[in-house]
């Protein structure tokens, strides 16, 4: 631990931090304060946080210290600070989902995930910025301004969970929570050089996760290392009777898998469809090197074809907007959140319309309109119905692939972080950022993005996507842990040590 003590607290990983607190080398309050100070110092530039809960964080840290003082056993993440995506409800703490619609809304209840974090002694520092209602790939759709990518503040940190990913890369928190509907954990992970995992659909409770697309949304861990992600994964996953779609089965042994660092004999498939036009040269270079590394580490690598994956993007842009058009109908100015134009003479209907006009941003409106159209009678079969069939085809492609390999790999996203504003007026270009991540959401399986270096042409991070069958999340960590260890050894340091000072 002597090395650790010389390193600033904010650079520590979650596992190290928890261990230092448990041993009494540092108090949880000191750790929390160090991160609050860091947020104070850099977040004006980064804009990762929408709300910082200084008092709540220090109280939670104090409780951990008191528990330790009483000699009670601490959990593996007790006292570790975390940045929570502002899409999970937090009792008494604002939850906006990056939207004007929910400005000032104080939820009366905690999400199951929030409760689990609190029970684990995790110190929630605050709520992070995101694309409005998780719709976007750049965090530019937040009603509260874009988040900067700590690697280059003029570039996007990915989205929708750009705030969570940026908080990690800016050393504002060692852990963060994201949600992944079409890539919103993995793509921000890839472009910020951090680790992001979308667990198997149904393995992390959605109770208290403000829904974008119910059949696709999945909360998951974000961290700077594979082991930290695994520790967080273990803390938040597991059956929840409040979520009917929650899987009632033991959580795969992800922490153990993260520590294995041995992939000899594993069979790994390279998805043939995820390459070619639109893929940045540096991204493909790092990806190909990663595949080579997997071979060197003793895995058997084969090329697999998943022909239906090319239909994933259009299918996603029918299913997700359809569900969102219904999920977001509740924002009607009647019970909570924004209310516009209630002058005493307007009808409820008029006030609802004025509020939705003023409260939703362009992308949210675009998707509500798309979804409303796709579900309309006469169009349902052609749009929503066909998209569901594509979804089945994609699942079958995965089944076929996983009959021959243990995991699949691809680039996480076709390019490195693009400049803020570059795709803001081109939704189709923006949607392409999720080309490789969407199939896993449609199939409900597990996937990870792992940093594998910087693209030579722009010195920005590149992510490797690893995909495992549903409920085989441990395989992600086994592969990710081995690759991470090999790369750190090769580089002599972690990738994030190269992130510029803010």
């Amino acid at each position: 631990m002597t090395d650790l003590i010389r390193t600033p607290i904010i650079k520590w990983g979650a596992a190290e931090t928890a261990s230092a607190i448990a041993k009494g080398e540092v108090s949880a309050v000191e750790v929390a304060q160090a991160h609050l100070d860091r947020i104070e110092a850099v977040d004006k530039k980064v804009n990762a946080f929408l709300h910082v809960d200084t008092e709540g964080a220090l109280n939670a840290a104090k409780a951990v210290d008191e528990k330790r003082a009483k000699g009670e056993e601490l959990g593996p993440l007790a006292g570790v600070p975390l940045a929570l995506k502002d899409v999970f409800t937090t009792k008494g703490i604002p939850t906006t989902c990056g939207s004007k619609m929910l400005e000032g809304w104080i939820p009366p209840y905690d999400a199951t995930l929030t409760t689990r974090l609190k029970d684990a002694g995790v110190v929630i520092l605050g709520k992070t910025n995101m694309d409005e209602f998780a719709m976007g790939s750049s965090t530019e759709n937040s009603a509260y301004g874009p988040t900067g990518n700590p690697w280059d503040l003029t570039r996007i940190p990915g989205g929708s969970g750009g705030g969570s990913a940026a908080a990690l890369a800016a050393f504002e928190a060692p852990l963060a929570i994201g949600t992944d509907t079409g890539g919103s954990i993995r793509q921000p992970g890839a472009v910020t050089g951090t680790v992001g995992v979308k667990p198997t659909y149904g393995s992390v409770s959605r109770y208290g996760l403000v829904a974008f697309s119910s059949s696709l949304d999945q909360g998951g861990p974000c961290a700077r290392t594979v082991l930290d992600a695994a520790l967080l994964h273990e803390a938040i996953a597991g059956h929840d009777p409040l979520d009917s779609t929650s899987i009632d089965a033991p959580v795969p042994a992800v922490v153990e898998a993260a520590k294995m660092r041995d992939i000899r004999g594993m069979r790994i498939g390279v998805v043939k469809e995820f390459a070619g036009e639109g893929y940045q040269a540096g991204v493909m270079q790092r990806f190909n090197e990663s595949v080579e590394l997997l071979r060197e580490l003793g895995a058997e690598v084969v090329e697999v074809s998943c022909p239906s994956f090319t239909l994933a993007l259009p299918a996603y842009y029918l299913i997700a907007p359809s569900e969102c058009s219904s999920n977001l109908a509740r924002f009607d100015a009647m019970r909570y959140g924004l209310r516009v134009g209630d002058n005493g003479s307007r009808s409820a209907e008029e006030v609802t319309a004025l509020t939705r006009e003023a409260g939703f941003g362009d992308e949210v409106k675009r998707r509500i309109i798309l979804g409303t159209y796709a579900l309309s009678s006469g169009y349902y079969d052609a749009y929503y119905g066909s998209a569901q069939k594509v979804r089945t085809l994609i699942s079958r492609d995965f089944d076929t692939a996983f009959a021959g390999v243990d995991v699949l790999v691809s680039p996480t996203t076709p390019t490195t972080a693009f400049p803020i504003g570059e795709r803001a007026d081109d939704p189709m270009a923006m949607y392409l950022a999720d080309l490789c991540t969407i199939p896993s959401n449609l199939a409900g399986n597990a996937a990870m993005s792992l940093p594998v270096g910087l693209a030579p042409e722009d010195n920005l991070p590149v992510g490797l996507q690893i995909i495992a069958p549903a409920m085989a999340d441990d395989r992600l960590y086994r592969v990710g842990g081995a690759v991470e260890a090999a790369l750190n050894e090769k580089w002599g340091h972690t990738l994030l040590e190269e992130v510029p000072a803010l």
Binding site: T245, R330, D332
Partner: protein, 498 residues
Amino acid sequence: MNLVSYEDALASYDPVMGLEVHVELGTKTKMFCGCSTELGAEPNSQTCPTCLGLPGSLPVVNAVGVESAVKIGLALNCEIAEWCRFARKNYFYPDMPKNFQTSQYDEPIAFNGYLDVQLEDGSTFRVEIERAHMEEDTGKSSHVGGATGRIHGATHSLLDYNRAGIPLIEIVTKPIVGAGERAPEVAKAYVAELRELIKALGVSEARMDKGQMRCDVNLSLRPNGTETFGTRSETKNVNSLRSVERAARFEIQRHATVLTDGGTIIQETRHFHEEDGTTTSGRIKDNAEDYRYFPEPDLVPVAPAREWVEELRAGLPELPRVRRARLQAEWGLSDKDMQAVLNAGAVEPIQETIAAGAPADQARKWWMGELARRANETGTELSEQPITPAQVARVAALVAEGKLNDKLARQVIEAVLAGEGEPDEVVEKRGLAVVSDDSALGAAVDQAIAENEAIAAKIRDGKIAAVGALVGAVMKATRGQADAARVKDLILEKLGAA
């Protein structure tokens, strides 16, 4: 509007009906959350993030709700789906917290059944059931400041979400054709039979007056002898048996009036008015109304195991038709008498009165006599009379104990109906108890003998039958409060004819 007479309407047109009945289940908790379903609580006190539709909340299906739905389906002779899903019915309305109702669409839990109903002439009419599906109730809006209590003219509205999420089963008939002039009667008989069935299953109290059972009457006319259905009107929330019959009847006349004038029927919802039995236009249902149904992604499919369904089938209680046959035998009634009991809606009250200890003949006598007359006069349901079966049973017991005679018993019943309290309280307060005290009666008997010497002489001579006249005199003198049997004994005793 001058309505075409009912007879004239039927002379030209053939009514086609569809009945949609919503039953609020009597589960302890709501369909998708743990909130209480108790009626009458402080507004919005029985709510949680889920039934308020707060951001992030999720539904969990109430297993008892599913069980009740399967029981209803089985009792309606339906097929039970092996696998079905909930669906979202999307539309904006402030009393719907999520602005979609979690319902079922093309995959109902029960479908293709029938219910045989008995008409007043004793014949049976089979009503075919399209489907029975599960859904949740909405909250309740109260429109304040207007004259009518409807949204039109109101200054503001209040919302109570206690009702939001209460489990509902919607039971939809196939088009009811061939009922002809008896269509309104069929409608009433169907709803009555369904209500009995629901109560027998124990899944709801099915009180129409409390909104636990609500009926929509869809009706269209087609010219006699033609096949194609006409445009229908949907009369919403018709909330008593009598109103169901009246609404159907009125709509037949209204449609006929419009059609006879060469007009066209607009597809619209209509409101029924209890006061005068008419309907007025509500919301026009044009093609713009599109609920954008899609499978509810927050819930997993419901797949009732076949063994479980069979267990439920085996455990179904005696169904009303079977029960009626049994009761008829137990009560020793002719077909005609039983039909009269049925027509009067007296089965339940009589049975409950018997259960409360009254003999069958007494129970039937009161409900079919005094109380049926009153229901008829006031145009109300027998079961709605302000007297309970237990109270009727108590009156019967007082008669059996000799504490009341028939005439006094009738007064007690009237007093209970007038809200004067329990039978015993009425007897006490009004001093109605039968006089059976011999010393008090003795004087009256002596007086009667003295005033009717000629009759007394006949009795002394053995013409015992003449005693009736003396008993009558005593009863008159005691203003009916004497125990007639005891009076008779005393007279005979005094005249040495005992």
